[in-house]
Symmetry: none
Subunit: 199 residues, 4 copies
DNA sequence: AATGAATGAGAATTCATTCAT
DNA sequence: TATGAATGAATTCTCATTCAT
């Protein structure tokens, strides 16, 4: 192993630590309250180092959001390429989202916080990707003729993507008295979602 | 009109201006980005004046959120006291929410931004009020026996309250290519919501 | 009783309350930390009222200091007019100072704090009064021929006036492990003081 | 001289400048009146820089006070370790205090102002150190059997430490018409002090 | 590649003071 | 006589960002 490849590994770790710290702090303190200094300290790197990878704080956060959303979009696209039915696509998506929330609640909290923030829009290119993916899902449903008359692309987005994310965060916040979830909850959310879109 | 009443009107106006400025800035820049100085400047009052009414920035924002949510809860409670059916209660609620969004988009944006922020919880008392109201709506639906098997209190909250708010903000953000809404949209959202909860 | 005299009584009380509040806060928080608003609130008067009597915060504090010092000077002058010996004059003074400290510790703390503050000098006229009084005491001692060779006017001031005040505050601050004082302490301080000046 | 050592010198200078500015302003305006902004400006550093070294204004001032007092305590302790007589210990102390006042009046003014401020106590550990030192001086005097019957530890503190400091400040303030001091004054103060404690 | 010293604009908040009533 | 609403300058402190090393 040469020094160069060794360095790369080191780098990767550092940046990974920065991103973890960023997510944690964004969730805990919000965009305004999360300071770059604290991110660097938590990640064990210098502030200067951090600025060599990201133009500024906003870009760091935005790039993280983009990557998180991209992962979700990739997952849906994979699911779509396997000629799944609408039900399968939605079920896979929701199970995937719950898996993310179980692996690390902060990841889902982070997405939740940012997609509802007027300071962070999806990047333009990604917005197109989202539209495309939602359209593909919508067309599958149309082809299968299973949508009720009130269902449009917006409802696919709101119900199949946003509603499960909101569900998890409602539980994180313990608003209605339950703190986590079990497989029954996941099934119920999945079924509710599909039933909401169906005739 | 005597001087006294003139003074009062002036006062009322000032605080009203502060609150308007606060809402606008919260929506535009988020909690961390919205500065008290700018709020005061926009409202045409001094910073010191503002602090005679609110202990600090957080209290100003929190009190505004509480008031906005209270208005919505009051509306639902009124609706419940009139022995309305589930469908009527939900329909009234959604129409009310759209009315708010039409009167002043910032009001709905403000609520949207804050209820998805991990730094702003509902005040404890209000959280209880929300639970109570949602429970009452839920019980009406149970009595009428019209819920599908996947519907719980959480779904009432997410679908009848959050989904319409999200819908408006999706339109404000122009995510799927339409910027406002018309009466058809309102009807569609209403029907979709009721259909989602129903058998 | 006419309205005028009634008013005067009321006024007197109010101003007295203001002065009490001022002293308490000056001792507790220092000049910078004591706010006029809090003084007014504690005294149960409005800020505006307070400013009708004192040009500003400094004048309020300065006038209080001047009055406190004047009381002490008056006491010494009375003592001097009775053809007392040096020992009697000093003994009366020290007993008087301890009486002040017993009546209300804040009074002695207040004097202690201010006479050691570079922002508060004695008023010019009062500085002359102090010099005069100290000179008279000095001359009595000279006439009686009891001073040791190292004793000058400055020592009269430092030992007969400042040292007892410092003693009480050392006890208030509990620096050497005793919190108050008894009659033995008073006698000891008196004797120490006289002995320090004597041959 | 290499760049590194050059940097260190620069750094040291900056902090030194901050401390000088702090002392000057504390003496001129008191704790409340001395602003951190002005300290930074006078020291030629940025506000942010200052806060990298001191948690806040209080810590800056307190740390300076502690250091000044420590220097004095160290001096007494050195003197004590050389098996000096009481007279020598006190004489050395007083000469040292006057030397401090001659080197830089602000240093003695600073100590004078803060030890008489109810907002600044000695740090707990230092208070113990002071007690210990005073006790050691007291025990020397006891062993030599030279104290008069009115002399206790408190008097050692008040007369050997506080009285010379007060003397210098009385001169700085020009209260009795002389502004500085000469060697005769120093001798007189020393002799007065020793004579005051002696039989 | 990596650091962290240094900045300075700007944040939240306070408070002495004024003045219309 | 007495109030307290209103101000705005000043205060303490933070933080994103830069840059010399």
């Amino acid at each position: 192993m040469n020094t160069w490849s060794f360095m790369r590994v080191t780098d990767g770790n550092k940046i990974e630590q920065v991103e973890k710290a960023c997510i944690t702090l964004m969730v805990q303190k919000g965009y305004g309250g999360a300071s770059v200094s604290e991110m660097a300290k938590r990640a064990g790197v210098s502030k200067g180092y951090l600025y060599r990878f990201y133009k500024n704080k906003e870009e760091l956060v935005q790039s993280l959001l983009t990557r998180h959303i991209d992962l979700i979009l990739d997952h849906i696209n994979n699911s779509l390429q396997q000629n799944n039915s609408l039900k399968e696509v939605i079920s896979f998506l929701i199970h995937y989202l719950f898996k993310l929330g179980e692996e690390n609640p902060d990841n889902i909290k982070f997405v939740y916080v940012l997609i509802h923030d007027y300071n962070f829009q999806f990047e333009l290119k990604q917005q197109e990707d989202i539209k495309k993916v939602i359209q593909r899902v919508y067309h599958i449903g149309l082809k299968q003729g299973i949508f009720n008359e009130y269902c449009r692309e917006e409802e696919i987005f709101s119900i199949a993507l946003i509603y499960p994310i909101d569900f998890m965060n409602l539980r994180f916040k313990n608003t209605f008295g339950s703190a986590g979830w079990d497989t029954n909850d996941i099934e119920r959310v999945t079924n509710f979602c599909i039933s909401a879109l169906r005739k």
